[in-house]
């Protein structure tokens, strides 16, 4: 099985698999990130254990990582690659967030894990937004632009019938929606960050609402969702302040998807 080569944040990632099923899985999930680079900065080998049906992630000089199924493999591999990329790109500030783009403006959606980022992202792709990333927002601190990281969108729970998923890849962790199954396009170049929305899923609320945050409140929330912020100067505080300063940040109460998408789009347009 030929190796899979990714261009991830301008770094080369090589993935060798010993079976076609694993290659197909990874190719579907990371297909939008495929690209050739002169050198590979990270090289992985993923082996399927015929006896246990589990998988093993190997990287030179490191202990293997064991996964019991395809869903666990993707979760563990995602985490491993993100940590390795953070070491390779210390100029980027990593935020646990989804990012979409419209008319050149990036919108960051921040929430705790399981807080509805991916489901709202899926819905926004039906409302004219393009996909930049899910789970990871890499912010270039010199430009404050957000780089694409178009791994398949991972929707952990089936969305409501208003926005059904077709063409996704189901694992124990949820449905992975690859680029070709998305209703909107994939953004392939960095986008300027226009706004940040901190999501709170409250299905019992009478409707969605957006409340503008003070710069300090936004910086605190962003910092709380940064990945390893202490790796940055000033313990990562200055970067969080720089990212949120001068751009509108909102608490967004999420209810039904269609009115929430409409409110987000309206709020974005008015704040721009």
């Amino acid at each position: 099985v030929r190796p899979l080569t990714l261009d991830a944040l301008a770094r080369g990632v090589g993935i060798a698999c010993d079976d076609a099923a694993t290659w197909s899985l990874l190719s579907a999930v990371y297909g939008a990130m495929r690209g050739e680079r002169e050198t590979l900065d990270l090289e992985y080998r993923i082996l399927r254990d015929g006896r246990s049906a589990g998988l093993r992630i190997e990287r030179c000089g490191q202990e293997p990582i064991l996964a019991r199924d395809d869903g666990a493999l993707l979760t563990l591999f995602d985490a491993e690659v993100v940590v390795a990329l953070q070491r390779l790109r210390p100029d980027l500030y990593f935020v646990h967030a989804a990012v979409l783009e419209r008319d050149g403006a990036a919108v960051m959606l921040v929430a705790r894990s399981g807080g509805g980022k991916s489901t709202l992202s899926w819905a926004l792709l039906h409302h004219g937004f393009r996909y930049l990333s899910d789970e990871l927002a890499p912010v270039d601190l010199s430009t404050l632009g957000v780089l694409p990281y178009p791994r398949a969108l991972l929707v952990k729970r089936d969305p409501p019938t208003s926005h059904p998923i077709s063409g996704g890849l189901r694992t124990s962790r949820g449905v992975h929606v690859p680029a070709e199954a998305m209703p909107g396009e994939i953004a392939t170049s960095p986008a300027s960050l226009a706004a940040v929305f901190f999501l709170e899923y409250r299905p019992e609320a009478s409707g969605p609402s957006a409340t503008r945050l003070s710069p300090a409140a936004a910086a605190v929330q962003l910092y709380a969702n940064a990945l390893n912020p202490l790796a940055h100067d000033g313990e990562g505080l200055d970067a969080a302040i720089a990212i949120t300063a001068g751009r509108p940040c909102f608490d967004l109460v999420v209810t039904e998807l269609t009115p929430t998408c409409e409110l987000l789009a309206t709020t974005l347009a008015r704040s721009g």
Partner: protein, 91 residues
Amino acid sequence: MTDERPRQRPELSARVVGEEVIILDRAVNQVHQLNASAGFIWQRCDGQHTPGGLADAVVAAFEIDAETARGAVLTALRRFRQLGLLSPDGH
């Protein structure tokens, strides 16, 4: 009002953002946001000011009456202690 002179814990990292203050406490892995008045008081917890002195500064800065300012200072100091933002030996 007592004659204590509250002092910030020196290992905290703080930033002024607009009129508010952000404080990072790595010991407990928490980040706090203080509003304008709380941030104003916290910035003056330097081991020099008594609560009475802090209240006088609040009166001057926020144009509020002395009793309201005293209440704000005592409430803020109590909250700072609950959050562990002040040195225990702040006298």
